[in-house]
C-alpha cells in the first residue's frame, strides 16, 4: 500500500510541501521586495514592488555606520567561531577518547550553559568589561560569543567524533605516536567535516546575537549588524527608515542563507546530533 499511494495522498503531501516552502520564504521575499521599492512606493502596501530601485542599497553603503558594523560582525563572529571550535575540538576529543574523571562534569557544565539565560550575565559583564577596558571592543564580544557557543560546538563535535574509525588512532598509538600526535596527524583530517559543521552553527549564533551586541557596545568601534540595524533612525526620531533597514537586512541575510543552503545536510546533522544521540 505504501508503494502505491493514492492520488489524494500524493496531492496532500505535495500541497504540504508547497505550503512549507511558502511559509519559510514569505517574510524573506517581503524584505527583498521592501528593499527594492523606491522611497515613494514604500507605503503602497503591495507585496511586489511596482518599480525596482537600488537607492536604499546605495544609501546604506554611502553611510559610514553600516559598512563599519558589517566589518565588525564579520570579524567578531569569525574570530569567535575559530576560537570556539578550536577549544571545543580539544575538549570533545578528550571526552570521546580519553577516560578521565570529570568527563561527565564537562558535558554537564556545557549542557547547563546551553540553557543559561544570557541576560543574567549582562550586568556583571557590563561592569567588568568597563573596569577591564573591554567595553565596546571586539574582544569584549568575542569572549561571550566564544563561551556561549562552546556547548553547541562541544556537543556537535563529540557526536561527530564518536563516528570516527578510532582503530586508525590506535594504530598510530601502537606505531609510537603520542596521543597528541595521533590527534594532530590522524584525527584532525578525519574530524574536519564535523569541525566545519560546528563552525557554521557557531558563526550563525554569533552573527545573530543582539543582546550582548547592544549591551556591551556603544560606538561603531565594535557595534555589530543586529545592533546597528535596530538603531537605524530615519529623518525624525519616530520614523523608521524602512527601506534602509530592509536593504541592510538583505545584505546580511544573503551570505548566511547561501552558506546554510550549500551545507544544509551537514547543518541538519549537526543541529540534531547533540540533542538526539546526547
Amino acid at each position: 500500500m505504501s508503494q502505491h499511494p493514492g492520488l489524494l495522498d500524493t496531492l496532500f503531501w505535495r500541497a504540504g510541501s508547497l505550503l512549507v516552502i511558502g511559509y519559510a520564504l514569505l517574510p524573506v521575499a517581503w524584505v527583498v521586495s521592501l528593499s527594492l521599492k523606491s522611497a515613494a512606493d514604500l507605503n503602497d502596501g503591495r507585496f511586489i514592488p511596482r518599480r525596482i530601485s537600488l537607492e536604499h542599497y546605495r544609501a546604506i553603503f554611502a553611510d559610514a555606520q553600516f559598512p563599519a558594523a558589517l566589518w565588525n560582525s564579520i570579524g567578531i563572529a569569525g574570530i569567535a567561531t575559530l576560537l570556539s571550535v578550536l577549544l571545543a575540538m580539544l575538549a570533545a576529543y578528550a571526552i570521546v577518547r580519553l577516560r578521565f574523571r570529570g568527563r561527565q562534569l564537562v558535558l554537564a557544565a556545557a549542557l547547563s550553559i546551553a540553557m543559561f539565560p544570557p541576560v543574567t550575565v549582562i550586568g556583571p559583564l557590563f561592569e567588568l568589561w568597563r573596569n577591564l577596558g573591554l567595553y565596546d571592543t571586539w574582544l569584549g564580544l568575542i569572549l561571550p560569543y566564544m563561551t556561549f557557543t562552546l556547548p553547541l560546538a562541544i556537543w556537535t563535535l563529540a557526536a561527530f567524533f564518536r563516528e570516527i574509525p578510532w582503530e586508525l588512532d590506535q594504530a598510530a598509538r601502537v606505531d609510537g605516536a603520542t596521543p597528541l600526535q595521533a590527534f594532530r596527524y590522524v584525527i584532525l583530517p578525519l574530524a574536519a567535516p564535523g569541525a566545519f559543521t560546528a563552525a557554521i552553527l557557531v558563526f550563525i549564533f554569533a552573527w545573530n546575537d543582539f543582546l550582548f551586541a547592544s549591551a556591551l557596545t556603544s560606538t561603531s568601534a565594535a557595534r555589530t549588524v543586529p545592533a546597528a540595524i535596530a538603531l537605524f533612525t530615519g529623518s525624525s526620531r519616530f520614523e523608521l527608515p524602512t527601506g534602509a533597514i530592509a536593504a541592510a537586512s538583505v545584505v546580511v541575510t544573503l551570505p548566511v542563507t547561501l552558506l546554510v543552503l550549500l551545507f544544509q545536510r551537514r547543518i541538519v546533522t549537526g543541529l540534531t546530533a547533540g540533542a538526539v544521540k546526547g
Binding site: A91, R99, V121, G278
Partner: protein
C-alpha cells in the same frame, strides 16, 4: 605501567578540556556569582558613592513590584503560546519532511532559511508586514488595524515571529526522532487495521517521546529568555515587557546594577526551576535518554 598510563590519560584529559572549562567559568560562572554579590547591594552607576550593603532589599523591591509579576506573566504567555504552536507546526513540518519526495531538497533547504536569518531582521520583517502604513497584512486581510499598538494583537505578532523563526529547529529535532521509529512497526500496525491518526498517536508519538521532550525543553528555555523580538517590535510597550527586557533596562538603560542583578538572579532561578520541572517530569525516561 597501566596505572601510570591512566594518570597520563587523566592529565591529558584535563589539559585538553581546561581551555573550554576556563572560558565557561570566566564568562558564565564568575559573572553569575558576581551578580548574586551585586544583588545584595544598593549600587547605581549614576550614584556610585551611595553604594551600600542592603541584604535582600533588592529582591524585596523586585518581588513586590507589579512590573516584575506582569513581565513574568507576559513571558509565560509568549513562551507557552509559541512553544505550543511550534510543537504542533513543527510536528507537521517534520511529517512533511519525513514523508515527502516531491521537491524534497527544496523543502528541506527552505526550512533552514528562518533558522539562518538574524532574529532582529525577522522581527523587523514581520513588524513591517503588520505595519498599518507599509505592510501587506492589512490589505490582504481587508482590515485597518495597528497590530503592535495594542496588547493582545502585539502578543500575536510577537508569537507569530517567534514561531516562524524557531519552528524549523523544533521540526529538525522532531524529524530526527521520527527517523528512529522503525517502519516495520508502523507497517504491522497498518496490517492490524490501525488508521493514520491511530498509527501516529499510538505508535509514532510514544516511540519519539524522548525527542519531543528534548525539543520542548530546549525551546521552552529559549523562549523564556526572549529579548530580541520584543525589543525590536514593541520595545516592551503596550504591556508586552518580558523579564529579559526588564532586566536589560534596569542594568543597561538605568544602570542600576544592584536591582538589575537581583532581576538577573531571579530569571536564572526561573530557568533552573523550569529545567528541574522538565527533568522531574520526564523522570527516568529523560535521564535514560541523556545517558545513552
Amino acid at each position: 605501567m597501566s596505572r601510570h598510563h591512566d594518570r597520563a590519560e587523566e592529565r591529558l584529559g584535563w589539559l585538553l578540556c581546561s581551555p573550554a572549562v576556563l572560558a565557561m567559568l570566566l564568562v558564565t560562572a564568575y559573572p553569575i556569582l558576581y551578580a548574586v554579590w551585586l544583588s545584595l547591594f544598593r549600587y547605581d552607576l549614576r550614584f556610585p558613592d551611595e553604594r551600600a550593603f542592603v541584604g535582600l532589599a533588592n529582591y524585596a523591591s523586585v518581588l513586590t513590584s507589579p512590573l516584575w509579576w506582569e513581565s513574568l506573566a507576559n513571558t509565560l504567555i509568549i513562551t507557552l503560546g509559541s512553544v505550543a504552536l511550534e510543537l504542533v507546526l513543527g510536528m507537521l513540518l517534520a511529517l512533511v519532511m519525513h514523508r515527502v519526495l516531491f521537491l524534497r531538497r527544496t523543502v528541506r533547504a527552505s526550512v533552514l532559511v528562518p533558522y539562518a536569518i538574524i532574529t532582529v531582521v525577522a522581527a523587523l520583517a514581520w513588524k513591517f508586514a503588520f505595519d498599518p502604513v507599509t505592510g501587506f497584512v492589512n490589505p490582504w486581510l481587508g482590515v485597518e488595524r495597528a497590530w503592535l499598538a495594542e496588547r493582545w494583537s502585539a502578543f500575536l505578532v510577537i508569537i507569530l515571529t517567534e514561531v516562524w523563526k524557531t519552528t524549523p529547529f523544533m521540526a529538525l529535532l522532531l524529524l530526527a526522532g521520527l527517523t528512529l521509529v522503525p517502519q516495520d512497526l508502523l507497517d504491522a500496525a497498518r496490517v492490524d487495521g490501525a488508521n493514520a491518526p491511530q498509527r501516529f498517536f499510538r505508535v509514532t508519538l510514544p516511540l519519539m517521546k524522548n525527542a519531543v521532550l528534548v525539543a520542548l525543553l530546549f525551546r521552552t528555555l529559549d523562549a523564556f529568555r526572549i529579548f530580541d523580538t520584543v525589543s525590536v517590535q514593541t520595545g516592551g510597550a503596550q504591556g508586552t515587557e518580558t523579564v529579559s527586557i526588564v532586566g536589560y533596562h534596569a542594568l543597561v538603560t538605568r544602570l542600576n546594577l544592584g536591582l538589575g542583578a537581583a532581576v538577573s538572579v531571579l530569571i536564572f532561578g526561573c530557568v533552573v526551576g523550569i529545567a528541574a520541572l522538565f527533568v522531574r517530569g520526564f523522570g527516568a525516561s529523560f535521564a535514560a535518554g541523556e545517558r545513552s
